[in-house]
Amino acid sequence: MLKLLEGSQAIAQAVGRCRPQVVPAYPITPQTHIVEALGRLIRQGTLSGARFITVESEFAAMSAAIGASAVGCRTYTATASQGLLYMAEALYNASGLGFPIVMTVANRAIGAPINIFNDHSDSMSQRDCGWIQLYAEDNQAAVDLHVLAFALAERLSLPVMVCVDGFVLTHAFEPIEVPEQADVDRFLPRWQPRQRLTPDAPVTIGAMVGPEAFTEVKYLAHLQLMRALDSFDELSGNYAELVGRTVPALSTHRLEGAETVIIALGSVTGTLRAAADELAARGQSVAIIGVTLFCPFPYERLAELIAPSVRNVVVIERSFAPGSGAPVTPHVRQAMLGSRARISTVVAGLGGRAIQLTALVELLSRAAGSTLPALTFLDLDAELVRQEDERQRPGAISVSTDSLHLTDAAPLTDSVHATDSSIPTKSVGASA
């Protein structure tokens, strides 16, 4: 039944209906509402027999999940940001040992500087840990992805990370349909582990592997992870038959005939679609592709979506590693090897900075006009950066080529924000 729900509550309900048996929990903003809700479900007996463990750190949370999964229990936990890093060693261990743990990552920036708001630097920092990564575009997708995640994890014996934008999705209320218990039970049967710790048939798990076998182990792990591409599509299809809706690995909007394609992950996709609609009303054709399955990356499927006639591809990145760059663009380039399209990167929304519709409309328009530089930091305060850099060392860096200030919206916190009138947009406060 469709209800107006907070994202976190809906996710907790969905996870609850997947009947996890052990939920280790450690709090971190902005995932707390999820684990609290699950704790309540377990304590009230709604999830009978399940165990809720309040552990002493995120590292302990993932470790306890490993233990529970090892004896054959369906296991779930949630974290974000610093917490995800703190359990990094255990993440690799979980995937290396093949435990189908499902975890929500309420995407939040990584410090220093400490920041509690949304961006993708946390999950992106763990691209290599061997977990399947899914990104939700809205809260309905977040709910459906958790159910799909358990099925996918248990089919492949691999852990799955469901990434949900912190605050933007977790704390947003919107109409959401949480699948009925009967439907979830039908879709997600009792887990049959391929092996587990039991005195009935002792096994040694976690042996030391030397140079003579390590490469083969890694190769096999890679093959297994790649199977998620087909498995996700198949499970997604099965889910659709059951509940009448599903989540595709790649979503498309106004793809037909578009010469400019924008690629993005997570909640910004919705605002991008609205921006594309506005442009369409003006006769400009821009398509939006949303990436839900990020790891393993769907190279072929993405390449198939981008017609040879596409001239501009823009990747919206919600994280950026100093010195390394943006994480999604190289995947897109790889998918588009041989294509003649211009690929541009736009870094937006770092540390929770709002990505305004007006800014995106302007951005998409420039993209369509092939005037975007290779790398853009949306709404960078170029003057502030210039001042700071000059203060620290003489000789200003050139920031003007990679920044684009498109939004005048006054931040709704403590200070009045002076507008930058170098680029003509709507001005604030004064009569129109």
Binding site: L4, T29, I116, F167, A172, E174, A409, A432
Partner: protein
Amino acid sequence: MFEVRIHGRGGQGIVTMAELLATAAFCEGMQSQAFPSFGSERMGAPVAAFVRMDSERIQVRDPVTEPDLLIVGDVTLIPHLDLFAGVRENAWVLLNSSSTPSELGLSELCARLGPGHVVCLPATELARRFTGRPMPTGALLGAVAAVVGVPSLESMCSALTDRFSAGVAQKNAAAAAEGYRLVRSEVGADA
């Protein structure tokens, strides 16, 4: 699409008000969305929340920059923040205060938005009277129903019942009804 921005301080129920408004709209068969500007758990700090209502599915998720309705739950914020940034032509502004708009220094805003569009209501006093607690939520929701008309007062009460226990919901519904009545009479007199 109808966009709302609500300002207040942490602990005044601003986020809950947004949630209730979105629920009320949903009750009437609309698509709706509500979210806070940030969620650091700190009492007294300025907080904003946003609501969108539409007949079509809502795709955007960015903060509301051009509200059709602005609710100010705590007028002590006025000197410190540019609360009225982006307020549209013909928008409504609803303020929790026992003073008049001109006493609050908002004559220019009144002139721009037109008669009956800037409304003050002593919501905290109403709340204290009907619920015993200084949370202006219920009264302000009633006021919204009165000035905007949609969602209706009935839907607001429905949302309250959904969210709170019977006793709490009933008291807030009473505050909402009184807020509605007061504003209708005030706006009715101006219109």
